[in-house]
Symmetry: C2
Subunit: 334 residues, 2 copies
Amino acid sequence: MINRQGKYTMTFSDSIITGYGSVAGKKESQGPLAENFDKLIYDPRAGQDTFEKAESLFQQEAVLAALGRANKKAEEVDFIFAGDLLNQCISSSYGLKVFDIPYLGQYGACSTMAQSLIMSAVMVSGGAASSSVCVTSSHFCSAERQYRFPLEYGGQRTPAAQWTVTGSGSCVVENSGKGVRVSAATIGRIIDLGISDANNMGGAMAPAAAQTICDFFRDTETKPSDYDLILTGDLGYVGAKCLYELSQREGYDVEGYHNDCGLMIFDRKAQDVHAGGSGCGCAASVLCSTIIPDMLNGKYKNILFIATGALMSPVSTQQGLSIPAVAHLVNLTV
Amino acid sequence: MINRQGKYTMTFSDSIITGYGSVAGKKESQGPLAENFDKLIYDPRAGQDTFEKAESLFQQEAVLAALGRANKKAEEVDFIFAGDLLNQCISSSYGLKVFDIPYLGQYGACSTMAQSLIMSAVMVSGGAASSSVCVTSSHFCSAERQYRFPLEYGGQRTPAAQWTVTGSGSCVVENSGKGVRVSAATIGRIIDLGISDANNMGGAMAPAAAQTICDFFRDTETKPSDYDLILTGDLGYVGAKCLYELSQREGYDVEGYHNDCGLMIFDRKAQDVHAGGSGCGCAASVLCSTIIPDMLNGKYKNILFIATGALMSPVSTQQGLSIPAVAHLVNLTV
């Protein structure tokens, strides 16, 4: 069953993450979470002839790992929600066609993992499905070429820039079984405070994160200290600072409870990633490698997972437009 | 309430299209449906400085028309599902930010209108919302530049090519009220029969349409003659012929009941559009200008609306890949 709570929040009675899987690349294998991923693939082409095909393969591997943990076959799954950063979401469409599962492509930029997880919860709690899979990915090489410059160009990166994670994460969500519960969710509204620097994604996305988090606190009449962890997707170092200030203005002090997937996946001092990690695969691979297992082993009982997306494109940037952003929040409990 | 029927189909008890709106451009104003659109905008830039901003404005106008018919304000709407053909779906994100409605970006290429309508029905029938809006758009000038060639190049079009519709359509879906009912839906699976000619979208998408339509007939134990109209999104002339043949092989003769939005919106003899219209805005604007009103005035009582999407990108085409496609089906009744 799904119920509305407050203006923007819904609660789910029967929505359980019964399986999860994650895959990451070489740079991620040198970071603090290396041991947590189900699979590490060192070759950026993953044995394929293009980066795009490699990213599709990352999605396949993440889905297979999640299905394996849930003890499900692909033909038993009712829906798959998926998305990525590439134009027309080709990592997802080419990667997932082998599974032959009814497919619903999602686009929320780096917020896509939260969005897909929420849509899966809606499907199983609403009675439309008994099981649903969600998956997202990103790949440093395919994203850099598309959004910025060919790698061979060797462009300098600005201090606010983030490093696109090569990785993928997937969850199986069911209406019964054991696992982390998707208890509530808040769908974000698009916000655009006028940032137009495409190398400052964290700054552009922080207002969306703050808005959605504060919407959730107001709707549920809770506060940051009610949660073991407030985990944003990929605000990075710059965006996290903005989030603290913007939430503070609304009367919520999130800093002491906050971490960010983009700050967790790399060691910023040792790995030269500037403001941290980013990409659809960042939030997804951290959630599915580290956070869900930490909930199952008792480290966290009640967390908020907020993935943020910058909804611009290279064309809108070239046309001088500012960057609209959105953030979706999931309350996970055990 | 939502129930499952058969392997791929779900039925909705409380999902009503209470408002609808459509906008189209100059070429569409010279076609057979000209009088049905709520608004015709002759300037391809719609008074803006870019085609992309014009497309965003088309979405805004379609949403405003739909909200007006439903007698709703934007702040009363729980969710908006939207998508378009541009990279990173910028027509939607830039166009809809003014409404401040919780936003869920969808990507199914030209299948996006059916997908967004289904997701809205899931939300209101599943108890997650009392009202939801869906909207999609396409624009000949922004799509040609992105997918094919700059307009100034004047490239020759092949006989199987379709003409991207400049237009937008939007529906308001509520859990009570008067209007056309969203009674059932089938979410498609990705299918790829190996067509790699990016100028033959109809041929690439027909197998997806045939698969989803036959899934629906099997799940509901119905046949083509049970419906007043089987309406595909934008298979065009070439794709429609393929659909007849592929469905026939599965034992369903759809030809006598079939029409296609891409064949309805233009006069193929007079308008030089080759195989017909296409684009996210084709299915959406025909549905919301012509089909829904024809259901309300008694012309049709029970129809199937199947929007089809080709899930390739210019990059996948350049890399020589074939074209995966998906089709989603909505059963509309009065």
